[in-house]
């Protein structure tokens, strides 16, 4: 049985391209999330995470200043955010990249291009797994 998603969660969408942030935001809204904030690179994302109460991060990989992988490593080493669910949405689909992201503690991974259904499915998988482990 699918766990019910907490649609009141505050979601941070991180991507250097405004287009992709908008696409992800639109999909999150379709799913039912209403509390969505954005950052255009990993460094800005980390600053928001430290200042605000973020519940879930959806991040790109290739970004200037701080990549999505570096952001993920920073999240996992920040006391306040170390258990935060992170979904990576990226063009980096090679097996070694996926392995790097898994080693760094990513919760789930989507390779671009993607459909809205895939995003919803991956998010549901994250929270089903976390619910089962809690």
């Amino acid at each position: 049985m699918k766990p019910e998603l907490n649609l009141n969660m505050k979601v941070l969408v991180v991507d250097d391209f405004a287009t992709m942030r908008k696409i992800v935001r639109n999909i999150l809204k379709q799913i039912g999330f209403t509390n969505i904030v954005e950052a255009d690179d990993g460094a800005n994302a980390l600053s928001i995470i430290k200042q605000e109460k973020i519940d879930f991060v959806v991040t790109d990989w290739n970004m200037p200043n701080m990549t999505g992988l570096e952001l993920l490593k920073n999240i996992r080493s920040t006391e306040k955010a170390k258990d935060m669910p992170v979904l990576m949405v990226t063009a980096e689909g090679l097996a070694e990249n996926v392995v790097d992201a898994v080693k760094a503690g990513v919760d789930n991974y989507i390779v671009k291009p993607f459909t809205a259904e895939t995003v919803q499915e991956k998010i549901e998988q994250i929270f089903a797994k976390r619910s089962a482990n809690s």
Binding site: T19, K22, N26, T90, A91, G93, L94, K112, P113
Partner: protein
């Protein structure tokens, strides 16, 4: 140029536009392009580092890209705005990334750069090497676009 490098870019173009912009495209007959003048209104260019080094570009007609981005974002556009240019960059990023993954799965190792976007009538596309440029015209219901690929001769890194 190794023709094995061309197909992944074509499949990636078709797949990305279908999945992200719900746009069906048909490929036309490839031709050799001997000048730098673009065949459209806005282009995204991505450098590719191998060896061999090369680059790819996507050039859209105004009508075509406005329809594609409208489909992607659920908004209507009348002009080539900054949002449209950003979308061309992201499309270039996704298409080159998908092709790179495909080539990577075949054992070829490439890196791709962050895309640059150029626009305006008759704008120039500067490929990263002096090798011949293969242009593949595509058509959509909203208008045409062109994919250009240029790779220098050289032995690819495999494995």
């Amino acid at each position: 140029m190794n023709v094995e490098f061309i197909n992944p870019f074509l499949s990636a173009t078709i797949g990305v536009l279908k999945t992200m912009a719900f746009t069906e495209v048909t490929a036309g007959k490839p031709f050799l392009k001997n000048d730098k003048i673009s065949r459209g209104d806005v282009s995204g260019v991505v450098g590719i580092t191998g060896p061999p080094n090369g680059s790819m570009s996507l050039t859209f007609s105004k009508e075509c890209i406005m329809e594609i981005v409208s489909n992607m974002l659920g908004e209507t556009f009348q002009e080539v705005t900054d949002d449209i240019k950003d979308a061309v960059g992201e499309l270039s990023n996704m298409i080159s990334g998908t092709a790179r993954n495909d080539l990577g799965n075949k054992g070829y190792s490439f890196k791709t750069s962050i895309p640059t976007v150029v626009s305006g009538p008759g704008h120039e596309i500067r490929h990263m090497c002096k090798a011949p440029t293969i242009a593949i015209p595509f058509n959509t219901k909203a208008g045409p676009f062109v994919v250009e690929i240029s790779f220098e001769n050289g032995t690819p890194t495999k494995g």
